[in-house]
């Protein structure tokens, strides 16, 4: 059984009275212990697919199964998914500690467990000195690290990483990549990763798929593939 199973998913949107396919007959299977990279230029449908997997958007056709359960029939399954995205925003009135407390409560963690987990994550992501700082005072990198820490608060069974290191300085990016790999190795957490950094995908992913104008053009093992050349070749093919 795959951890994430996307079966013939199509999604159309209407812009200025014209319909277009954001996703067309997309099928993917992400194994239980793998990191799967989804590559494609801007507007190719990567974030739309992630929004469908997480349940923010419903597919017009096809379905998504997480850990064997259909998201449409068992929406609670999305509780087991953590999403790290570059557009993660929290209410400006909250501080870093409030974010940990609130999401810990949402995930039903007892106070002691919540505090222990928050302390671990704050320590790991270098947030321990800014726990009292309000979210609107965080830099892009700090906000991204908070988004990552928040996504791990409930030890998710699946992680979706939508451009997780966008805008981060190199030292943090390297640390995060190491941690992504560690989580995957230690807990076998399956991950779907989108990134514009080919080196990052090369370093992390076991397999990749290339999506272009809503269609999956190719799926392959990363080993032995130069992803930068592969990306350019696929874009040319798509045009």
């Amino acid at each position: 059984m795959n951890a994430i199973e996307v079966i013939d998913v199509s999604k159309k949107f209407k812009v200025s009275g014209k319909e277009f396919y954001a996703l067309k007959d997309v099928s993917l299977g992400i194994k239980k212990d793998e990191i799967f990279g989804l590559l494609g230029p801007n507007g190719s449908g990567k974030t739309t697919l992630i929004n469908i997997i997480i349940g923010l958007l419903t597919a017009d056709e096809g379905n998504v199964k997480l850990l064997g359960k259909d998201v449409g029939k068992f929406p609670d399954i999305t509780e087991k998914v953590g999403l790290v995205s570059n557009d993660a925003r929290f209410h400006w009135a909250l501080n870093v500690k409030d974010v940990f407390t609130f999401f810990g409560m949402v995930h039903g963690l007892e106070k002691r467990e919540r505090e222990r987990r928050a302390s671990e994550l704050a320590d790991f992501f270098g947030l321990e000195k800014i726990l009292k700082r309000r979210v609107d005072g965080l830099s892009t990198g700090e906000r991204m690290r908070l988004s990552f820490a928040k996504a791990l608060m409930n030890k998710p069974s699946i992680l979706l990483l939508d451009e997780p290191t966008l805008g981060l300085d190199p030292s943090i990016s390297i640390k995060l990549r190491k941690e992504i790999k560690n989580i995957n190795k230690e807990f076998g957490t399956p991950m779907l990763l989108t990134s514009h950094y080919m080196r990052e995908v090369q370093q992390l992913a076991d397999r990749v798929a290339f999506i272009y104008r809503g269609e999956i053009m190719d799926t392959r093992d990363v080993r032995g593939v130069d992803l930068e050349k592969y990306f350019l070749k696929m874009v040319r093919l798509g045009e």
């Binding site: 349940g55 958007l57 017009d60 929406p75 509780e79 009135a93 039903g108």
Partner: protein, 261 residues
């Protein structure tokens, strides 16, 4: 519905409310200053039209209570949208039922606190005793107002989620037309004949009519009391399916993603 998520959202709302000064001003400053202003007016009117001044003061208390009991929920939703935090809430497993239920509870707490403050100010500054002389009837009238406002907040939430966040202004404007048609300071008979059947079905009409009777010392119409509560509950019963449908549709059209971005 999971209780831990509802409690978490109430905690979140109270944190945001206590730190967002504009929200405190919106929910307390305006209603209290309005009541003081109309209280002063009622004191002035005592010498030549005591009843009129009292009616205006009592109905203003009802109006402000109705308004805050509706707008706070919708403002919270819009605040989640404007701050971009709604996406983080919804992807953490919070269901739409928990999302609105928690907001209704925190809004009820805030609006009841405001009501207590408005009544205290009116009692101590303007000796407004009529509300306390018939406590059971007054409580029923405020309950009916609260239920109607909750229903209105759910309807407005459904509309904003369907139409998009550029309609967020409805959070603090839409109730006005319902209040106007609910005949707060005047009887339904002032409306043209063709409009009267519609105004009778407005969420606050029956309640306001009894509130005027309460203010003027007349007898409370129990039939009208029951009618007011029934209309409020009916609005609530209709609002919930509309809200759930709006969410379902927004997930389909992509408006939910846009609402949080």
């Amino acid at each position: 519905m999971k209780i831990n998520r509802v409690i978490a959202l109430i905690y979140y709302d109270m944190l945001v409310f206590s730190r967002a000064k504009w929200r405190v001003m919106e929910m307390f400053y305006f209603p209290i200053t309005t009541v003081v202003m109309w209280g002063l007016f009622s004191s002035y009117m005592k010498s030549f039209a005591a009843e009129a001044g009292l009616i205006v003061l009592v109905l203003n208390i009802f109006w402000n209570f109705a308004s805050v009991a509706q707008s706070n929920t919708n403002m919270q939703i819009m605040d989640d949208s404007w701050s971009g935090s709604i996406k983080q809430l919804l992807i953490s497993g919070i269901k739409e039922s928990e999302y609105i239920f928690a907001r209704i509870i925190s809004t009820t707490a805030i609006s009841v606190a405001l009501l207590a403050l408005m009544l205290s100010v009116s009692l101590y500054m303007f000796d407004l005793r009529v509300i306390f002389e018939k406590p059971a009837a007054s409580a029923m009238l405020f309950l009916s107002t609260l239920v109607a406002s909750i229903a209105m907040s759910v309807i407005i939430a459904a509309f904003i989620i369907t139409a998009g966040k550029e309609y967020g202004f409805l959070s603090w404007t839409m109730l006005q037309i319902f209040i106007l048609l609910s005949a707060p300071f005047y009887p339904v008979s002032v409306f043209p004949d063709w409009l009267q059947p519609i105004t009778t079905l407005m969420p606050y009409t029956a309640t306001f009519e009894n509130a005027r009777a309460l203010a003027s010392g007349s007898a409370i119409d129990n039939g009208l009391l029951a009618q007011g509560l029934l209309i409020s509950v009916s609005y609530l019963a209709l609002s919930l399916p509309a809200y759930f449908y709006a969410f379902k549709r927004a997930r389909k059209t992509g408006y939910l993603v846009k609402f949080g971005s």
